[in-house]
Amino acid sequence: MGTRTLSWNLVLRALFLDGDAYDRLRDDDNPFIEGLFLVIAIGFGTALLSLIGQVLAWASIPDLNAIKQVVWDAYQRAPWWSEVTRDPAALEGFRLGWEWSWRIISALSPSPLTGALRIVIWPLLSLLGWLIYGTLGHLFARLLGGQGSLNQTLGTTALAFSPLLLRGLGIIPFLTLGGAVNTWQLICRYKAIRSAHRLPWTRAFWATLLPFVVYLLFWLVIGGLAVVLIAVVARR
């Protein structure tokens, strides 16, 4: 039976860039297990808090279908509406854009269902992101001369999920987090890779960033394949 290193205090120290916190989890007898618990706990806990904010926000805004109807009626009174209706192709294009816009608005609007789904989705996505980033970060760190094990890398990169605790502020309805959390997480990931592999700052910097280059290449390939697929389907 191993000892438990993870604690609320350790997570807060990692959040506020205390290098010793990352070193302590690195030196744990099984950093992966501690990291696994932490990533799931952060995803689940913040999703629960966010659900409260989603429900409060949902109760504060009118029904989306009613808003949609108000906007549709107003458009029909607009001076440009007669020009749109004169051209059937323009009207069809407008309707298509209109329906897509409302689908996106509906997906982004606060609702208890969206909030409830997050309780499942956030821990799963966090877990996936942690395993993929941790593995890629480990590979690049080793290529750059790092000495840490995959177990240690996954442990310390799990601590780098601590800035996601800010998602818990989602308990406040209508709160927007912005990109600060991602930047904070990137800084923590640098600390994590550096601690796990005892790399000098330049190598730790590249080992932290290179997984994102892989992500970019992956999405470029996926995007390219999608374009080719659409082109083939459109030709038929």
Partner: protein, 261 residues
């Protein structure tokens, strides 16, 4: 608390000893986070107050008049920028803009009348609080222009990299903790809503904050002022250069297409 206030006073007056005292603290990043977050909230208090007062006085006639006045004020500000255009084109643009804004105002007014589960005043209060609480987390339209985590961390990460490349030696926690002090002058943004002079207070806060940022970069990284200025400005200059190159590339392509037609 008294000692902390004295240190902050020394910081805003560019007292080197105050910066050196702060650099030795072990909890700098935590303090930096608290400083930026709290100052972001405090500087947003006037906007919160205005939003709450508006929410409590939900008089449809007053609201419609406010919106109309804001539209007219906005169009009056844009009109001088369109002076170089022929008068018929200018009138057409202004007419379409006015119609667009009026339509949006009509929609806004009608949506505001739709029923919600919570009473409307409570809903508006929650929305105002949510927007206020988001303020310290958001980014800025321009680096260091507001006291927010977005600009502090988002711009800071690049400055940290430049400072390191220029020979700086600060740790991440020390650098971010020290540079969070740029947020202190942004307390002046409480006055940003004062008619006519509000933007002057914001501009003073920005310049003062940039000065503190450079000093904090210099002290934390043990760099000379010249290198600290370079480290603080280089990310902005690189982005400006890239934007200019891309814009020139797009403009060149457009000209080429037009010429070959």
């Amino acid at each position: 608390m008294k000692e902390w206030m004295q240190t902050l006073r020394g910081v805003v007056l560019f007292d080197g000893a105050a910066y050196a005292r702060l650099r030795e603290r072990g909890d700098l990043f935590f303090l930096g986070f608290l400083l930026v977050f709290l100052l972001g909230l405090i500087s947003g208090l006037p906007d919160l107050g205005i939003a709450i007062v508006r929410g409590l006085s939900t008089d449809a006639v007053v609201e419609a008049a406010d919106v109309t006045a804001e539209i007219e004020q906005g169009l009056a500000q844009v009109e001088p920028l369109l002076q170089s255009l022929p008068s018929d084109v200018r009138d057409q643009i202004l007419l379409q803009a006015r119609q667009g804004f009026e339509l949006a105002a009509q929609i806004g007014g009608q949506v505001a009348q739709l029923p919600t589960i919570f009473p409307r005043r409570l809903a508006l209060l929650l929305e105002a609080v949510g927007r206020w609480a988001s303020r310290p987390l958001a980014g800025a339209r321009f680096p260091l222009a507001t006291a927010s985590l977005g600009t502090w961390l988002g711009y800071g990460i690049w400055v940290m990299l430049m400072a390191r490349l220029l020979g700086g030696r600060a740790s991440l926690a020390t650098f971010f903790g020290m540079t969070s002090l740029f947020a202190v002058p942004h307390l002046l943004q409480i006055l940003a809503r004062v008619p006519y002079v509000g933007s002057v207070f914001s501009f003073i806060a920005f310049l003062w904050g940039v000065g503190i940022y450079v000093k904090a970069t210099a002290v934390s990284h043990e760099l000379g002022t010249g290198r600290a200025v370079l480290a603080a400005l280089l990310p902005l200059l690189i982005v400006a250069f890239l934007v200019a190159v891309i814009a020139m590339g797009i403009a060149g392509t457009v000209v080429l297409i037009l010429l070959t037609r």
